[in-house]
């Protein structure tokens, strides 16, 4: 968007917001004389403010998309637009926090030991071994697509800060399988084992 377009948008927003703060029947003609290029928008604001629109439950002609079906379609497009702009998942920890959860709460919701969730965050678990059901649950908890979660886990392991300090060679992290990580975790319960390692 060019500067002049942004300025025009800004002016239009300023006028619309100022009018919305003042709007009363009978003031429209003064505003439209002052801002003829925004007359229609001002009329729309005034009309909607005077008589808020009731939900359209089915008109007498043409296609009506105002119901649940229309809202669903708009939501779908909105989610798609958001997904293309939202930065890729960069941290499981931040994504968990963004949902208002701590790691222990997220682990509990996922029925995983907290230590294993930290390992997933640092990508110490081979992503191919993570059960599909867990990927799906993670995606629901974080409100990210399964593909996004998978792409995050498939990246190289995250080294702790300072791990390479004064090291002669780049440190390597050995990834373990999901099953090994779950089995080795002292907090793993029988129910967790049952849930994630059987079937």
């Amino acid at each position: 968007m060019g500067t002049s377009t942004i300025d025009a948008e800004l002016d239009a927003d300023a006028i619309a917001v100022a009018f919305a703060q003042d709007s009363q029947p009978g003031t429209l003609d003064t505003w439209t004389v002052r801002h003829p290029e925004h007359a229609r928008t001002l009329a729309q604001i005034a009309a909607t403010s005077f008589y808020p629109l009731a939900p359209n439950n089915g008109g007498s002609e043409g296609a009506d998309n105002g119901g649940a079906e229309g809202a669903g379609r708009v939501r779908e497009i909105g989610r798609g637009a958001l997904a293309t702009r939202r930065p890729a998942l960069s941290s499981l920890l931040l994504a968990v926090r963004a949902e208002g959860l701590d790691m222990d709460e997220a682990a509990s919701a996922l029925r995983l030991p907290e230590g294993l969730l930290w390992k997933l965050h640092r990508r110490f678990v081979a992503w191919e071994s993570v059960p599909t059901a867990l990927l799906s649950q993670l995606s629901q908890t974080l409100r990210r697509s399964v593909e996004e979660v998978r792409a995050y886990l498939a990246q190289p392991p995250m080294l702790a800060a300072g791990a390479s300090y004064r090291a002669d060679a780049s440190p390597e992290v050995h990834q373990e399988s999901f099953e090994a990580a779950l089995t080795a975790d002292p907090e793993t319960t029988d129910a967790m084992r049952e849930r994630w390692l059987t079937g």
Binding site: A12, Q21, P25, D29, L42, Y51
Partner: protein, 257 residues
Amino acid sequence: MKDTFTLRPLTRTRKDNGQLYVREKEVEVQLKSLATLSEKQRRRALLAEGNDKLREETLVYALRECAQSGDTETAWAIAERLTERVSGHIARQLSKWRLPPDDADDCTRDLFAALFEALFDRSSAGEFWEVRFWVCLDRRLWNLIEKRQATLDAQLREAEAPEGSHESSEGGQESLLSRMHDRSLGPEERAMLSAALSHLSENERLAVYLTKVEGLPEESDDPARATAASVLGVTGRSVRNYLKRAEEKIQKWEQAR
């Protein structure tokens, strides 16, 4: 990331009187209340499922604060909540214009692009969305729809009946529309009028509002005078046709009730 959530004052001023824009009282109260919460509690309050108590302006403020402090995960999570919130409203608005499905989808796509661009805009221009969210959203939606509506209107005009026939639709009894401007109407009658108006196209609704509530003439020989035709950017004849169709639709609607 340091928790720096505080109630930042608005910086933009109105061009006409130089006064600062003001947030609505309810939004101020919500923001002050959010500022007293811990970071975690605040995220929960902002992102709680089905929590429609927080105003959209409050969510926009929180989103912009999170984005500016580097907490993009939370900022986008709030954007997701806003997407859910606006979907029904956008669908209702689109349905009034009865655009073909492909045009409606294009409008929706362009609108969300504009919405996300504005919400994540770090300049003070984004403050308008913190003051009147729905005004900013509707203005963009109307602009997008109107471009497409112009084509549909041209098609409608071709199919219209000759001018002059609209007088026949006005019966002896006082129509619902003629009582629109009456400020003494009770809540029930106002709700009925809102319901009736939701069956009109956008041009019909605006023509009715401009002539019946604002008292503007349909058209005028005086170019300096605001008229329904000049506001809508159409001819006086189109305004009369919008009014005629509006009367017919409302009569039909009243009979069907």
